[in-house]
Amino acid sequence: MTFENEHLIPGQVGQFFIVLAFVASIISAISYFTASKIQLENEKQKWIRFARAAFFIEAFSLITVFLSIFYICSHHYFEYFYAYKHASKELEPKYLLACIWEGQEGSFLLWALWHCVLGTILIFTSKKREAPIMTIVNSAQSLLVLMILGIYFFNTRIGSSPFVLTRNELAGPIFSQPDYLSYIKDGVGLNVLLRNYWMVIHPPILFLGFASTIVPISFAYSSLSTKDWGGWVKAALPWTLFSACVLGTGIMMGGKWAYESLSFGGYWAWDPVENASLVPWLILVAGLHCMAVYNSTKNALRASYFFIILTYLFVLYSTFLTRTGILGDTSVHAFTEAGMAMNVLIGIYVIAITIPVFFMYFKNYKSIPTIQKEEDISSREFWMFIGSLILFLSAIFIISITSLPVYNKIFGTNIADPADREFAYNKVLVLVAVIIGLLTGASQFLKYRNTNKKYLLQKLAWPLGIAIAATILLVIFYPLEYTKKGPGFLIAIYLALFASVFSLIANAFYLKTVLRWNLKAGGAAISHLGFALLIGGMLISSGNKKVISDNSKTGLFIPFSKDPTGRNDENPMENLTLLKGVPTQMGQYTVTYMKDSASNEKDRTFYKLHFQKKDSTTGKVEEDFVLSPDAYRMKNNNLTSNPGTKHYLTHDIFTYISTISVPDSESDTATFRNHEMAIGDSVFYSKGYFVLNKIEKDPQNERFHFSPTDTALVADITVHANDGTQYKAYPALTIKHQQLDFINDTVVAQNLYLNFSGISDNKKFKINSKETDKLTDFITLKAYYFPYINLVWLGLVIMSCGFVISLVSRVKASKLVTYLSVGLVLAFLFYMFLLANA
């Protein structure tokens, strides 16, 4: 049977180039390997030239593959399964890239493309190490391309190709018809959770971070295979700095994304997926410090090898955790089951590169030179090594808990996460923060080999004194209120805060007194300063984070069925329901859900919430703003919400919607009854009567605040229900900028709507009433107060800039390049983290 209207050419082109890329990467790997084993310079160059050609063919092929996918998705060719699954016609073009790397295949391709970029740079810069380094890069590349190969081999499909056809993948009656495509109206599209600009920018940065960790391990391999022990460290240091910078930024971008557009209520939740990317970074930073130690003192070479190889192992292990579906029961955002064949491939990738390199490392362990003399306890390298060890141990601690599902799989156990997962991590890592803070602060003033004690004390006295004073001031004037885990933990938080403040000040002092603001030499100090700020910001923002939508104190609450568990007052009820148009007290704010507004995206609605904060004594309005959290309401009433956040310099007010009223399919049929009432008149409704007490002009009270230019009339009405209860209602009419506007009032308990529409000819007031069984529109929301969250983002930006400064000074870049690269990174990160969504 021939099918109509299919576009098979782009898929065939793409598939051809996948196979070509796979073959080319293997040829390139083998040729580079051969070249690395040949001593004869002439012969070696021949192989290298051949291997380079294969590499460039591979790079060209992968770019073509990417363009083919892009073409298919942008043209909505739903005959391709990938386009059907990830693209849709209503998707805005800006999300086109995001929908490509939403899937496994697209993200593997992204990773492989970064390998091409890095490989090209390495070919031109790594000189005599090119052959062994590119052997590793190409081996990794061939394994990555294998994941998307999609070729049958003995009846098993190896890898999953992005070019398979929908009709071959799915069974369904429509596929037996030649014109099946006319029945597929639209694709599934990008998951609404991911429709955010961070989805466009975060994956490329994170994957660049992951991909770049292959460079340090390639350098380590090159030295192990040529038995040129120490030389690699100096050459690999800039790459390691690059990796640490990009991976660190990528991880925090994930945190920023989670904070500002996902409804997790924070930037870090110790989710296994987050941990899986943090652990390689910690080990990489440990390795980075050991390499710096070796570079200056020839110590710690063995540890440098070990950490760098381990980093790559953990990068691949985290790939394994997030992509095989093994985290299904513990993580909110891991991929689900990918299929046995895929799992085996990922498993092979985890061991194929790292195990041989580890084997070479252990085989040569004895030959790797060390210094026999013990390090002096006053030397910088001793404490840097201790710091690396602490980072390494915390990484091991984190990954041990994160790997629970793996033990369960292997040993058939049923161990699960601890009850309070975040606390289980926090209580340990808060101590790590104390140690790291003290080390990063004090070790700046230590010298390699040994330090004069008097000099050290002299230099440390000021920072230590200021840090102690600052911490005491904080305790008095801005105490942390995180008491729910007991005083012990609070003290630990204060200690960590002290250590962070100390590190911040000590590094600033180092820049001032030792480096005399020669920032070019101060990359490390700047990074440490940023890191201290980041940790300090985390401690404060999490320690004093508050739920302001606390329903146990305010708001509407009518128990409607017996709660068999009873209510626990210790856990605040975090959700608050707001009725449309009814002001509700929330924390210090009076919040009114004003209206909905549809967006140009399908199913997406913005909810306008008016926040007002008044001084309790003078009644003066101190803050007045509108937040617009939004939500996608899908078919079958699924809801995906994005927060609305008010950013202040010192704190954020963060809200998101957790429930919305389900619109009734039958429209509200009740209509307003019109009454003309004089003062004192009463009108009956089905459950009682209401009285117009008076009309006030421009009142200023609890409820209404009109500006002097407005004209407002407010009807004061008392509703007398048959059961004897009384309610007050204040429908109003206002004239603002020559625009007539009505503020209706609702007596929720009576389902009575009141509207004040004007004055009739005979000097009576037009009051309209409506009764309805239909519930009014409402939303349920959560709201948090995050103090000093900007310190976290600022710390990250400074830390990343510190990495870049170290990097450019290591490669001895010219002044122009230095200023340009630091300036660009600073501008980009500052914009992304502090301005983009403000």
Partner: protein, 134 residues
């Protein structure tokens, strides 16, 4: 550094590590009947929504009260109380991981992790359903 000092460091590290691991109170995955044996103890239940019983949730009256019934693979059921909003996809979920503890015959839930076919695109059955809708 001397080998001896490295060994000492490793031993200290291992000891700290063991201590830390010990200090974490791991929970377990349980069935409803085994959770009922462990009254008041924090467990993870893997179950499914019992669609034959009502879901009680009315955000207008109390947004922090959800009650539903869960049934596990052995066929046991329990009432679940969750003091939070109803996860929007609860009705569509095919599997839920409930974190909390059994109090009498009621499971007091702190956290719900839903596995929804609609959210994940790797489920071919669901895709087949949606492609044939047209």
């Amino acid at each position: 550094m001397k080998t001896s000092s490295i060994i000492i460091l490793v031993v200290i590290a291992a000891a700290i590590g063991a201590l830390l691991m010990y200090s974490v109170d791991f929970s377990t995955y349980d069935t409803i009947s085994s959770a009922k044996q462990k009254q008041g103890q924090y467990v993870h239940l893997i179950a499914r929504l019992d669609k034959s019983k009502p879901i009680q949730y009315d955000a207008l009256k109390d947004p922090n009260y959800l009650s539903f019934y869960a049934v596990d693979s052995l066929g046991n059921t329990t009432q679940v109380i969750y003091h939070n909003t109803k996860p929007p996809e609860l009705e569509q979920s095919d599997r839920v991981v409930l974190k909390g503890k059994m109090e009498g015959n009621v499971f007091e839930c702190n956290d719900i992790l839903l596995k929804c076919p609609s959210k994940y695109k790797d489920n071919k059955k669901e895709l087949e359903k949606s492609v044939s809708q047209y």
